[in-house]
């Protein structure tokens, strides 16, 4: 039978060559760094066959590579194991181990994580940057959280407004969560989970100083649930000092994130504002000959379409005051400055971005006019 194994090493030589080309696909995501930090594209809520997902962990690594992510975490339910008759592993770290091996040759960080799963009011939470998932499997929720803390895990509350647990569709901050926050055992909260954005969770994040998170919570295929419907998967942008596991962990504990789902960006003003500022690059600014109409070329270097509203005293010459700069696209603004300036402050309200419920940031760019 030795021959069989030799044979399978050779197997599929042709198609592997082809597969490598498709790692960076047309759906590769890109977001600019902000001053002082590198911007990491992360999805920290993902399932595989090792809990209730539909694919082997290798597919999750390949999906992440295709989408140009910097980090993922496979967060299997510890308590909910619908495939346990087929996959009766006593070791809850298998999903992580397989993903780590698959990612070995690639520049993708695999964060060790697990989902702690209870019915309301405890609900679901993810512990990431753990060392060993097995001790987190506890009868009492409190013990699972204290074990996570012992491992220095970053823990965030999943879909707090999930209608299956909260029929009104709003989060309820129970004594359980209050206690966890007080004890330093709960650090973040999802404001975007799969296709759902929850403003009240954002309000809670700000009130309780929790890190703002966005995740795909994928069980099936990213392509079927997101890409082929014209969407990108939801992610958390993490602003880290460098691209390492440790730096990313530090940034999450410090709350340096923006949650993103297509055109929707949600974050604290101190991070969302610079992200939008970096996302739009002014490539030229010049007056039309013999006029006081200033033509400004703008380039969106991010994968989010960005919606803006004029927030200057000057009107536009041609554009609607509400306009979109497509993902990785360009836009030409013509501004009526009334007399010729050498410098102007372009001020735009980013109406698809939120720093608090219904509150969008005004971002400004200093523009030097070309002669």
């Amino acid at each position: 039978m030795k021959n069989i194994f030799f044979l399978f090493v050779l197997c599929c030589g042709i198609s592997q060559v082809t597969a490598q080309h498709s790692h960076k696909s047309q759906h590769a995501l890109t977001y600019p760094d902000i001053e002082g930090y590198v911007t990491l594209k992360t999805d920290l809520h993902i399932h595989t066959v090792f809990s209730d997902g539909d694919v082997w962990p290798t597919i999750r690594v390949q999906e992440a590579l295709r989408e140009n992510l910097d980090a993922i975490s496979l967060t299997e339910h510890l308590e909910y194991q619908p495939h346990k008759n087929d996959i009766p592993h006593p070791n809850r770290n298998r999903s992580y181990d397989i993903a780590l091996a698959e990612a070995k040759e690639h520049d993708l960080i695999i964060v060790h994580g697990s989902e702690i799963t209870r019915s309301a009011p405890m609900g679901h939470s993810n512990a990431v940057f753990i060392k060993d998932a097995n001790p987190l499997l506890q009868d009492k929720g409190e013990k699972a959280f204290s074990e996570a803390k012992k491992q220095n895990a970053f823990v965030f509350w999943n879909h707090p407004a999930w209608h299956a647990q909260n029929p009104q569709g709003n989060p309820i901050l129970s004594d359980f969560q209050k206690e966890r926050i007080k004890k330093g055992e709960l650090h973040g909260i999802e404001v975007i989970n799969s296709i759902d954005y929850n403003e009240e969770s954002l309000a809670l994040a700000l009130e309780q100083n929790l890190t703002i998170m966005g995740t795909s919570d994928i069980h099936g295929l990213i392509d079927w649930d997101y890409t082929e419907k014209g969407n990108d998967r939801p992610i958390t942008l993490v602003f880290a000092k460098e691209k390492t596991l440790e730096s990313m962990q530090e940034a999450l504990f410090e709350g340096r994130t923006v949650a993103v789902y297509n055109a929707l960006l949600v974050g604290k003003e101190e991070y969302l504002n610079p992200l939008i500022h970096s996302s739009i690059v002014v490539t030229s600014a010049k007056y039309f000959k013999n006029t006081q109409v200033l033509e400004v070329h703008l380039k969106n270097v991010s994968s989010s379409p960005l919606l803006f509203k004029n927030a200057m005293e000057y009107g536009f010459y041609s554009s609607s005051p509400v306009f979109e700069i497509p993902a990785l696209g360009t836009y030409t603004l013509r501004i009526k400055t009334l007399d010729e300036k050498e410098n102007i402050d372009l001020k735009l309200k980013a109406i698809g971005a939120f720093t608090a419920p219904k509150q969008s940031p005004v971002v400004s760019w200093k523009i030097s006019v070309e002669k």
Copy 2:
């Protein structure tokens, strides 16, 4: 030589068959009627080789049929005739006559028109629904306007903010225009001309009670200037009692219009509001089982992508409070009504639409919840 003519009747039999199929193309525009009126899609500012355009009038008719317009007007410059050495026609009605013949078998209204062309401060104006273009060719601008009035023409001011005439990019209402308005010789104003939207012209329209117009001012090809760049041509929606030349003329004199360019809609609230109301159809509204989350399916039956912002007291369950319903597309809103209702008022601000500079209408739909 008689044979040659016979021969050309047969000529191109094959390709004509094919051409007919392409009249209603994928770029066909559609907008719903509003209560009491049919909505006519019109472009009343167009050029051909009979002034400074690049195509024979037949192409303009074919372009309009492909885009499903209801009415067009070929508004040749009376005074600016760069091709006059080649086309020395003394009769300024030729462009109209040719278009009329081409449209004969089709349900497309050809409005007889002309452009009266002067440098600032008089500028350019279109007289449409004229009977004879020749008498409008006058040395004095005042005489051209009074002749247009004699013919009961509807006259509108073209691109009042054009930077070539007004270097600041803003319209200047001169004594000439004031006099024309006073005498009932000027009835409308372009707020959208080709790719340019001008808020100050909208302010003038409201202040002077002028009809709000949007036109393509096309000289080259609609496909090259608009379609292949992902845009639709700018048009004026006219709310007429019926689809006839006379009804359309009456509606224009009465100011019943909305100017449209892609996602941008500009009009008086009394017409813009019902247009948006008709454009969005609620196709179903039902609570998720065992929750107070109401799922509402919306359908945009217009060719404009429509941008909205939540204007209700209730939050959304999944969507961003700012969202777009694609042209002829659908969107699912999930509304947290907190307890179960039998009826609710869906209230949305149409942030891509304007009833005055920077002012967007709030539109509401009465929704009956299905059991």
Copy 3:
């Protein structure tokens, strides 16, 4: 813990609704029936995590539903089990059982199958329509085949020309296969396996009277390996008396198949010829007025682009003598019949289809000319 299970029943209510819509996707395959038989679209060579594939069996069912297949078989390697430390199931029927449950509400036939895997010269073979996979796991290949026969399985030889087993890239019919054929234990042969078409395997199929098969042999995702590269998965069209498991089995034993990969169709003339005949529908045939040029409109009702070459004595008026009718598309032929006919035989050589190595069938359609 009871609550957790209740909770997961509700879970994902929203996304399931959406998922149902995508079952019949834009990649749904369609092929017409032929006289006397229904045409079943089947893929009988597929892997999951239960051998060396990357997904749970449910994904395979969903892929098949999206592509509108009629039948699939999950043919796990019995002997090659790279995931056996994680999935140590002693029961080799699990993959089948899970797929069967997933397909329950759908009109998709799940064929019970397994792959018998050896190094050359035995190579790999699939046994389908088995009752129990476990007894097929045998040390000696001969015993595996005799057990398959006992279960009345239809057995076919996989990728006989695989370069990892045959470095020249050609199949070698060994004594092992000869013996199996003689004993009635080997009934079919893959002429298309994944992206590979092998003419010599077709020659063997004809020489040994084996059923002609085409399969995807998918391990990863159909979308990544085929769809996003512009290809459809390879399939076997089975011409069955009705759409049942039994009928399909009977048809395979009788050799009523065509293997298909995009524009490539391979089958015995008696089935390939009627398939192409049914795939092209003549929708009208009329003379141009006053000419002897007959215009014939053709419609391809299959998902394969079909390549043809003129095989008539008459020339074409406009088309190249070599032309393609796109998948589900139309084509207009203009035929110079020299005088006016009431009927003609349209004769075309289907140059992308093969009934033997390098041999393409000529198909003919009787056309009645309209007056």
Copy 4:
């Protein structure tokens, strides 16, 4: 009135900037040079409003620039002037003069031409490289041709098989043409006119040693008649010593052409063969490790999809023996060479290309295998 003209110089400043970008569009055509010659992409049969076309000559120049043509000729009917009441120019060179001015800043050759138009049996012919169109307007066809010869024009017979003149759809070589050929007054023949390919005209070209031509004969818009239907305009590739008017004229008199319409290429073997040879570039050739299967990467550097059929003694490992290499696309052939070679001759029959009715050339490429 002086102001008006100044004003129109400024006019449209914005849109002209944009228009320049679209000159080289996605439909730009490209074909490789062949040994000893540059390959010029030409369309020498075009109409404008100066005969029975629908656009001003400037549009024809812009269409040609968008499609990356090297040369065009506006060949107005001298005798058929449906717009002559509006455009009563006595000078038949106007169309040429306007196009020449429009093309001034671009690298596009404008060839002076005219169409000589008669009913059958004389039919239609184009005289190109003329000096003055006016003297070609003659009552007697014979005089028009002798005048063209006096000007050293290259003259070709248009759509000889046109059903409106020849109801059987086949060309009839009359005494008129025979006399013209004998006198050296007729040098070429269209085998492709608009969407029509005529094999009998190709037979005539070979029999009478006439230059093989392909033209669009466009009257409306290239986009509507060709591009938006997925086609490129038909052209004649001219193999000239250099890109000049004189060189092109010499090449046409010498018969160095290939007529092209999408995948269809028609020409004499001595030019068609090298064109296909140059169109396919072998980018690598290497054996799969431990096999005798040679993998050859091919790149099509032309805008025509090229259809091939295996013409070697060796079989393919994966591909169908009939395959297409997409326009500007790539293809991977795997060839079973049975033992390892250092060099092989790749031989393919180009089945979409014709050197005579129904006759396709076999082209070969010398391949050095990489170690």
